[in-house]
């Protein structure tokens, strides 16, 4: 039997006169329940896995008093000044909230099998707690500590200098957060706050790309061919996020 053509592809044919199917998969029938690729590079129209947009809206993870405390915390870690917003206005608490409500909060992908003995510093974090658990537990303990030390006021209500004292104490390990590990909480909070300040705005932080503007990072750009040779010169274009920047919309739009 002569084969009709020598093409190795298994494209779904286009449709004459009218619509066109452009979905192409190489599929081998009767096989090992795998996604098998054979014959052509797979393709399906519109296939994309962009980041989920962390919408504005209510808190997804934090209870209201937790949110207040976290907003206060991020505003001390990255305080506001006259030029650049602080952690709170930059959306760091929103960022952390969305992260804790998602795979990061559940320690998705992390190896979480027991046992969890403490190891050497070289062996890395051996905590059995997910980030969500660490935050929840630590915020409760921090709140209790603050009320003990500062006449019944929660962390968000006390003076900034007192907040700094508590934070510094967690950082150095001198402040005990009950059974929670204050140092571990501090490290994660600091890391997440920085992430919130500098990650793409689609994740809820770095509002209006304030973090990027502060340092001069142009964001999700992909073409600097015209700039690699311009040594010691400021890059002139404003930052852009994955979901764009204001200039994408014309004045009449």
């Amino acid at each position: 039997m002569l084969l009709p053509n020598s093409s190795h592809s298994y494209h779904r044919r286009r449709v004459l006169l009218a619509g066109v199917s452009s979905a192409v998969f190489g599929l081998l029938s009767g096989d090992a329940h795998a996604r098998t690729i054979k014959g052509a590079l797979p393709w399906s129209p519109g296939a994309a896995v962009p980041p989920a947009n962390a919408q504005t809206g209510p808190w997804r993870f934090f209870a209201p008093e937790e949110a207040r405390a976290v907003e206060a915390l991020v505003d001390r870690l990255i305080p506001p000044d006259e030029k650049v917003p602080g952690g709170k206005d930059a959306g760091c608490a929103v960022f952390i909230d969305r992260q804790l409500a998602g795979p990061f909060g559940h320690a998705s992908g992390r190896y979480m099998q027991p046992p969890f003995p403490a190891g050497t510093p070289q062996q890395g974090d051996q905590s059995p707690f997910t980030p969500a658990q660490l935050y929840r537990h630590s915020l409760v303990a921090l709140d209790r500590l603050s009320r003990e030390k500062f006449a019944g006021k929660g962390f968000a209500e006390i003076a900034a200098s007192d907040q700094d004292t508590l934070i510094a104490g967690m950082e150095s390990g001198t402040v005990q957060l009950g059974t929670a590990d204050g140092k571990a909480f501090f490290e994660m909070l600091l890391q997440n706050t920085k992430e919130g300040f500098f990650a793409d705005p689609v994740y809820g932080g770095n509002r209006d790309m304030a973090g990027w503007k502060m340092i001069g990072f142009p964001g999700a750009r992909y073409d600097y061919r015209d700039w690699i040779d311009r040594h010691n010169q400021r890059y002139p274009l404003p930052p852009v996020g994955i979901m764009g920047r204001p200039a994408w919309n014309s004045a009449s739009n």
């Binding site: 190795h8 592809s9 096989d31 090992a32 329940h33 795998a34 996604r35 098998t36 690729i37 054979k38 014959g39 052509a40 590079l41 797979p42 393709w43 399906s44 296939a47 994309a48 896995v49 980041p51 001390r76 305080p79 000044d81 650049v84 990061f104 998705s108 992908g109 992390r110 190896y111 979480m112 099998q113 046992p115 190891g119 050497t120 070289q122 062996q123 890395g124 051996q126 600091l190 920085k194 992430e195 500098f198 990650a199 793409d200 994740y203 973090g211 502060m214 340092i215 001069g216 990072f217 999700a220 750009r221 992909y222 073409d223 600097y224 061919r225 700039w227 690699i228 040594h231 994955i242």
Partner: protein, 588 residues
């Protein structure tokens, strides 16, 4: 009970660089090839398009392209006698996943090892005497020479379109290239990339000090290029989202951009994705592989019989699978016997930070493999006699990215948070850089891999256990290299400079590099190596094991070019010798 599938000629375990290279080579012999990949299919436009590839949080911080420790992890301890604990999240090294493997998200740094690196023991003993080497250092000669590998380095570089300036063309030293490199038969396929400010500043200072700076050989191309298979790559746009990221515009050499388009068109090739090979099966004699067993995402077990098995799953997972399959004698640190897990090595990296006034370095204008380098202190390129250590590395100004979550350099003593930190970050982001040293890592008796007694993977099998620490030789070497880098930086008049030499103990916490090596090394003696010089298992003659697991020790360079060269070298032996006369290619 595994369901048995129709037999095929070749099973390739893992479809990364070596899996793609070997698949292509064997398809040219008309063999049927089934490549089984644990991770997903990856394609530029749907997996990492420019529309969402430049996402630092997703790919650099949350490790979006890497294998997840929940699927496979390992345990770690510095010394035998300690209890190893799981590496619960990757940090020091970042194992890849999916079709293309780490070839998708590597930096593209494409280095040939030095001729002396392949005969390390012989050469160093001859020059410095056996007593100069630490008694517990277990370095070995590879069993293959640079000259034998040269055509295969060339092959990989022309597959990729590697961008560079040759330093040694057929023995003649070339201006502007690396004068220390082994002789190459022809120039690079494309010219070197353009360099940012900091790299040219490094080069000027290095020249003033009498060194020989040259552009780093780059797998991020300086111009569009069509490789010998007809596959076209584009020109790198210096986007600064290279390592840990897939390239969105076809300008980073990867299996996707060099080989896969041709592989899939061959009717004898089939890729099965999201299937995890759990065992290489051997017959009752233990000398012949019969195929592999794998598990799909539904938990179904399948047996794929094959005449030949190629293990291409990355250094760590190669060793893990050999141990779990019971192939080769596992290494015993107490007796010093055994070969699987023996001679595990890493890379000794260090940096020098520099803070400047009134300079705009634009760290975000970057490519994974650009930069100006000096090789004067690599390998045995200098006389080690006065210094009491062996090994070395390259020193360079390599600007791979300025991604902000990862890049907030502040002068030492700056508090890590608060108004002062915020100001320091704002003041220093554009005007700070770091020089980088990529040092060798020789092998030792007590740096090795074996199976963990306690922790299991999601299939209930033992995790692999890594026992590793930096030895005094490497610590001395790193201090020396870092000091040399600091001298160069001093010439550029920074406001402040901070040295960060690598010190013991090794920690899995800070990111260093993913250049893990050894554990299934090649050599001439089956007592001290797992593979012969053609990467053929001494124990199972129809099993060949690719990757840096074959390196008896690591040199002062990134491994990929050498990994590819020995893969092509092995493929040549398979095609010209093994297929004609299956069986051991080397008599033990």
């Amino acid at each position: 009970m595994a369901r048995k599938l129709p037999a095929t000629d070749v099973v390739v375990i893992g479809l990364g660089w070596t899996g793609a290279i070997l698949s292509h080579e064997l398809l040219q012999e008309g063999l049927r090839v089934v490549a089984i990949e644990r991770g997903p299919w990856r394609d530029t436009a749907s997996s990492f398009p420019p529309g969402y590839a430049p996402d630092e949080l997703r790919y650099a911080i949350r490790n979006g392209l890497l294998v997840q420790p929940a699927q496979t992890a390992m345990t770690f301890r510095n010394k035998p006698g300690q209890t190893a604990l799981p590496i619960r999240a990757w940090s020091s090294f970042l194992p890849g996943n999916g079709v293309g493997g780490a070839g998708v998200h590597w930096n593209g740094q494409t280095w040939r090892f030095l001729p002396t690196d392949f005969v390390a023991r012989t050469h160093l003993t001859k020059r410095y005497g056996a007593a100069f080497l630490p008694s517990d250092m277990t370095i070995q000669d590879w069993g293959v020479t640079y000259d034998e590998l040269e055509p295969h380095f060339d092959r990989f570089e022309y597959l990729c379109g590697t961008s560079g300036t040759a330093g040694n063309l057929q023995g003649k030293i070339q201006e502007g290239g690396n004068p220390f490199e082994g002789p190459r038969s022809r120039p690079y396929p494309t010219p070197a990339q353009r360099q940012p400010y900091a790299a040219t500043m490094f080069a000027e200072a290095a020249k003033e000090l009498g060194y020989h700076p040259f552009p780093q050989p780059s797998g991020n191309l300086s111009q569009a290029y069509t490789n010998p298979l007809g596959v076209t790559l584009g020109a790198c746009t210096y986007c600064g989202f290279c390592e840990r990221f897939g390239c969105g515009n076809y300008s980073k050499a990867s299996p996707q951009t060099t080989l896969l388009p041709v592989l899939v068109r061959d009717p004898n090739f089939e890729a099965r994705t999201q299937c995890e090979v759990t065992r290489i099966n051997v017959d009752r004699s233990g000398t012949r592989a019969t195929g592999v067993t794998y598990v799909d995402t539904s938990g179904n077990e399948w047996e794929q019989p094959a005449a030949m098995v190629l293990l291409c799953a990355f250094q760590l997972f190669n060793v893990q699978l050999l141990l779990l399959s019971g192939i080769g004698k596992p290494y015993d640190v107490n007796t010093g016997e055994g070969v699987i897990g023996r001679n595990f090595s890493y890379q000794t990296t260090s940096t020098v930070e520099g803070f400047y006034d009134n300079r705009i370095f634009n760290p975000f204008i970057a490519s994974g493999a650009n930069g100006m380098i000096i090789d004067n202190y690599n390998g045995d390129n200098f006389d080690h006699g006065p210094y009491g250590f062996v090994g070395g590395g390259y020193i360079g100004m390599i600007q791979t990215n300025g991604r902000p979550i990862e890049t907030t350099p502040v002068p030492p003593g700056t508090r890590r948070w608060g108004a002062a930190w915020k100001k320091a970050v704002a003041d220093n982001y554009l005007s700070s850089i770091a020089f980088f040293c990529s040092g060798s890592e020789y092998s030792y008796r007590d740096n090795y891999l074996d199976l963990d007694p306690t922790y299991k993977d999601h299939l209930g099998r033992p995790l692999m256990r890594m026992t590793f620490d930096f030895h005094p030789n490497e610590v001395k070497m790193s201090a020396y290299l870092t000091d040399r880098a600091a001298e160069i930086m001093q010439k550029t008049n920074p406001r402040q400079m901070v040295k960060h030499p690598r010190t013991a103990p090794y920690s899995v916490v800070p990111y260093q590099t993913t250049h893990t090596c050894g554990g299934a090394i090649m050599g001439t003696d089956p007592k001290t190596s797992a593979l012969n010089r053609y990467l053929q298992s001494w124990d199972v003659s129809n099993l060949f094991v690719m990757g840096s697991s074959a390196f008896p020790q690591n040199a002062g360079y990134n491994p990929t070019d050498t990994v590819a060269a020995i893969a092509y070298w092995s493929a040549k032996a398979i095609r010209e010798q093994y297929l004609k006369h299956p069986g051991p290619l080397v008599q033990a």
